[in-house]
């Protein structure tokens, strides 16, 4: 089985793919912060941020609507915010009655709701683009260079490597349970909820033991190749003039968006 489905990286050869991962990470975070700083209803700024995204999509050769399509999965979560529709003071737009409550949608509420959604949606797309054009190990390197503590980046690197091994293992366990989830014609099948929960817990316990023992074997493998408590890696990234230029360009653009957002 291959759960490569977890990999969000898209192999292409583009300027964006070749950009230094540190630059990509910093620009992404800057854009997300910039979105957060934009006031409600800064339509022009939202529009420019969106155009910036589309342009990046094109440069990445993933297709102009790449992040657009991917972002739709993340949107339903955004509905948590729907209650601001009613709770923000302002001029009533429409009113309705549900069960025992009256709900009033205000103009300020609508403005705020739509702004929250747009900000969140723009930011999600930036993050999607980042992982689509940066291989995850490079991203982890970037994090290490950006002063994320080594213990965390090392854990994340191991996590990423064994994600695939262990999720495969889980899928096989689930599959085994499914294939024995049988019924006979006569009886009610399935067992009680508590029993089913116990079986799921047993599976988690199994998985834990195997993971634990695997970590022992990996530790042995590391020892036999000279590990003595410190992880060394070669630094495969060097900033080139193009990287500085791209960073400067992005910062300038973000600055312009911020100005536009305030008129």
């Amino acid at each position: 089985m291959h759960f490569d489905a977890f990999d969000r990286y898209h192999e292409k050869d583009s300027r964006l793919h070749r950009l230094d991962p540190r630059v990509k990470a910093v620009i992404t975070i800057a854009c997300i912060l910039s979105n957060a700083l934009l006031p409600d209803g800064a339509w022009i700024a939202f529009l420019f941020a969106f155009i910036f995204l589309l342009a990046l999509n094109v440069v990445s050769r993933l297709g102009i609507a790449y992040t657009l399509k991917r972002s739709l999965i993340a949107l339903p979560f955004a509905l948590i915010a729907f209650s601001v529709l009613f709770s923000t003071p302002g001029n009533p737009l429409s009113m309705f009655h549900f069960l025992m409550w009256d709900f009033t949608i205000t103009d300020a509420g609508l403005l705020r709701f739509v702004s929250i959604l747009i900000r969140s949606w723009l930011s999600v797309q930036m993050a999607i683009l980042l992982v689509a054009v940066t291989r995850f190990p490079d991203l982890v390197h970037a994090l290490a260079h950006l002063r994320v503590p080594p213990i965390l980046t090392t854990i994340i690197a191991f996590l990423y490597r064994y994600l695939f091994v262990l999720t495969d293992e889980v899928f096989r366990l689930l599959r085994a349970r499914e294939s024995r989830s049988a019924a006979s014609a006569a009886q009610r099948s399935g067992g009680g909820v508590l029993w089913r929960a116990k079986v799921a817990g047993d599976m988690a316990g199994q998985l834990f033991l195997r993971s634990y023992e695997r970590s022992d074997r990996i530790y042995n493998a590391m020892l036999s190749r000279g590990y003595a408590g410190h992880m060394y890696t070669l630094n495969p990234h060097e900033m080139k003039p193009g990287d500085y230029f791209a960073a400067a360009f992005a910062v300038a653009f973000i600055f312009i968006i911020q100005i536009l957002g305030r008129f």
Binding site: H2, D4, A5, E169, R172, L173, R175, A176, R177, E178, S179, R180, S181, A182, A183, S184, A185, Q187, R188, S189, G190, G191, W195, V199, D202, M203, G205, Q206, L209, R210
Partner: protein
């Protein structure tokens, strides 16, 4: 001569009966990533048949087996014991087809041997008496009765393999489907397994890379490659057909 075949046409199954235990007709399946793993598989199995399924890595053997109790759903028809496999009768079919995975660690998820073997019967909603009786009978059949209360985690590979077989025997299947049962066993454990399979009075379909096992145990062999059945016939004849073996990355034992 076995019936060998390179193109996509229908292959008449060797077996004389009509396939009273299993009939697969024109099964196609592609994985979500677009890889076409099965390209029109047809085969029949009759009561008492013991059939080997061989072929190189990636031939589609495991994929086919996962179809036989409805874990995967391809296009085509599958009948088990004369009953068409559909979404509605899936649970009943699963009681009829006992599927044992290659790695026993995938099969065993409970802390003790007893709990694992009891999972199937319990899920079928059988009364406690019956469950206990079936567990005992299944462990007896694989000669592991004394392991009833052991932790499955601490068993050797060969022991785990036998317990894995017991976990499906306890459901009294009419067809036993084993995916590479001998992988990773030392010669002694392998021998014990071969004897066990020989004695079990059940129809079985067994995928394997172990050509020696094929030669010893199975009168009939099905060869798959690239998602198709490319040969189906007497094991003796297939193992004698050098050209066929080489063409599909196999070797004489």
């Amino acid at each position: 001569m076995p019936i060998t075949h390179a193109e996509n046409k229908f292959i008449a199954p060797r077996s004389e009966c009509e396939g009273d235990v299993l009939q697969v007709r024109d099964l196609y399946f592609s994985y979500p990533d677009g890889h076409a793993a099965l390209n029109g598989v047809s085969l029949n199995l009759c009561g008492g048949d013991k059939v080997a399924l061989v072929g190189p890595n990636g031939a589609g053997k495991s994929t086919l087996m996962l179809h036989l109790n409805g874990i995967l759903n391809g296009r085509g028809e599958i009948e088990i014991g004369g009953r068409r496999l559909t979404r509605d009768n899936l649970p009943v079919i699963r009681a009829m087809v006992g599927l044992v995975f290659q790695n026993p660690d995938d099969q065993l998820f409970s802390p003790t041997v007893f709990e694992d073997v009891a999972f199937g019967p319990l899920h079928m909603g059988l009364p406690e008496e019956e469950v206990r009786a079936r567990v005992d009978a299944a462990l007896e059949a694989v000669r592991m009765s004394s392991y009833r209360d052991r932790l499955s985690h601490h068993l050797s590979v060969g022991e785990k393999k036998r317990i894995a077989i017991a976990t499906v025997l306890s459901m009294k299947p009419s067809l036993l489907v084993l995916d590479e049962p001998s992988a990773g066993l030392d010669p002694r454990a392998r021998r014990t397994l071969i004897n066990l399979l020989r004695e079990l009075p059940i129809t079985m379909l067994v995928s394997t890379h172990d050509m020696k096992l094929v030669q010893e145990l199975f009168p009939r062999t099905i060869v798959m490659d690239e998602g198709k059945v490319v040969a189906d016939g007497l094991t003796m004849e297939i193992l004698d057909d050098e050209a066929l073996l080489t063409a599909h990355g196999l070797e004489k034992p």
